[in-house]
């Protein structure tokens, strides 16, 4: 899912006519001060990261003056929450809150539903997990006709909204459901939305996540990569995306895994398929090695696509090894992997002589693939050659994660010691 930060989600809500507090984002204390001056009253300074529990992490502060907003922003902008640096703050007017509510629109994947679902609670402002089940009201929404006002009124009655407020709440929820549909959201969570002292309903927070597949329909969002990423887009993520973006011939997925490019113990990781990827991670975890990236070349991709992924994985600086993990009996023709890997290793090993490369291929056309690998890499694999730490395995080790992990670890230790001795 493509995820928006709070301030971005609120901008889209505002454009769709949904009430949000007056505010704007800032990337520096000076900008924060200017924003607070523009608002002209007490403000909330809220750190912007894709993580819950921001209040507990100390990145939400209420202040009275623009100079206090500047100071609060300075404090928040140097913080990191769950490994994610805070790069922006949202400065917005402090609301006079009468009561807080929760609502979210999500996809109900249940077999008998498969449609959007509205969840609502009058216990807003806290983790929804900590709200008692009987206080959370749910309703499936017809994917074609959307949430109708009469259904919303029924729902609000059920949720205990007083009669005189029914039409206000029903209209608010109906408008939000239209936004959910208009923007092809996967999740739209407003926690809390608040009733102010003067009786208005306003979205005090916003978590908006867009269905990846719909990003092409929304150039207005300017989303670079339609994918679930753990943090900010990295250069490796951009390279990976460019491999997939215009080439639908099988999967050629590549993304960063919080790899710092400096610390030892990271492995260029190239599994083939999702199940294989899990087994490969198991192999690495068992011996304390870490994946520098996540890749996937499955669905019978063309050789050039496999080459691009493998080349990018092997190009990562300061890795201690490369794992091609074909831990499953693949139906795709493995010889495309074999040809691509031979080409890549001939190009990349001169730059990283002695790099451990454990190559596991298994499945359709395995014998021919093994022959390509063995013949193609033989000259590199001599005892003093740049490919002296290449090891090739086939079906005899297809589920043997422990063995593969241990081989990689032993080779990586050797390689690291060699590099240390050379002062690299």
């Amino acid at each position: 899912m493509a995820k928006f930060l709070e301030y971005q989600g609120k901008e889209w809500l505002a454009k769709a006519g949904i009430p949000v507090p007056k505010g704007r984002s800032a990337s520096s204390p000076e900008e924060a001060q200017q924003a607070a001056e523009w608002i002209g009253k007490s403000v909330a300074v809220k750190g912007q990261v894709q993580a819950g529990g921001r209040g507990k992490a100390g990145i939400v502060k209420l202040v009275e003056t623009p100079s206090e907003a500047s100071a609060a922003a300075a404090e928040i902008l140097v913080k990191t929450v769950k490994g994610l640096p805070v790069r922006q703050v949202l400065i917005e007017e402090k609301l006079a809150i009468k009561k807080e509510y929760y609502c979210s629109f999500v996809i109900n994947n249940a077999r008998d539903a498969r449609c959007p679902m509205l969840m609502f609670s009058s216990e807003g402002g806290m983790d929804i997990e900590s709200v008692p089940e009987e206080l959370i009201f749910k309703m499936n929404i017809d994917p074609i006709f959307g949430l109708q006002i009469y259904d919303a009124i029924d729902f609000c009655v059920r949720a205990g909204i007083p009669n005189k407020e029914l039409s206000k709440f029903a209209s608010f929820l109906t408008k939000l459901s239209q936004v959910y549909k208009k923007y092809d959201c996967q999740t739209l969570e407003i926690n809390p939305f608040v009733m102010t002292e003067d009786g208005s309903l306003i979205c005090a927070d916003c978590k908006m996540e867009i269905d990846n597949s719909s990003v092409g329909r929304h150039p207005e969002f300017g989303i670079k990569i339609a994918r679930d990423l753990p943090g900010e887009v990295t250069e490796l993520d951009m390279i990976g995306w460019s491999i997939e973006e215009t080439d639908a011939r099988g999967t050629g997925f590549l993304m960063n895994m919080g790899y710092d490019e400096v610390s030892p113990g990271y492995i260029g990781y190239h599994p083939i398929g999702g199940g294989s990827a899990m087994m490969g991670l198991d192999a690495l975890n068992q011996v304390g090695l870490k994946p520098a990236n996540y890749a996937d070349t499955s669905g019978n991709p063309v050789g050039s696509k496999i080459y691009r992924v493998a080349k990018s994985v092997l190009s990562q600086p300061n890795i201690d090894g490369y794992l091609l993990g074909g831990f499953m009996m693949a139906n795709q023709e493995q010889w495309h992997h074999a040809n691509a890997i031979v080409k890549v290793l001939w190009e990349e090993l001169p730059k990283k002589p002695g790099l451990p490369c454990v190559l596991l291929l298994c499945g359709n056309r395995e014998d021919e693939s093994m022959e390509i690998l063995r013949k193609g890499l033989a000259e590199l694999m001599t005892s003093d050659g740049i490919g002296k730490r290449i090891e090739i395995y086939g079906k005899e080790h297809v589920t043997d994660t422990k063995f593969i992990g241990q081989r990689l670890l032993a080779l990586a230790k050797e390689y690291r010691a060699e590099k240390d001795a050379q002062g690299k």
Partner: protein, 96 residues
Amino acid sequence: MLEIKEKSITIGIDTNKCDTCETKACAAACKKYARGLLQIVDGKPSVEHLSAEEVLRLGTECLACEIACKFEGNKALTINIPIAGLDVYLTKRGLQ
């Protein structure tokens, strides 16, 4: 020099080296691993029997011809596979 453009790669063949090639392994590999685009005409690989559109449509970018030529032929064939952003990535890290 023969240049063949597929969807995302360019195959370059120094056909001067092909006259003395005994295996013509590129064409055999193309037949085995792909759709037999490469044919040997007058001792050299050729795609002249196909239009440029047919090459684009039929080419599977399998890379088999390059590997076959490198290990069984006269090392006449190289494939260029551009990767958007990789040069910048490496240059920034002093790895180019």
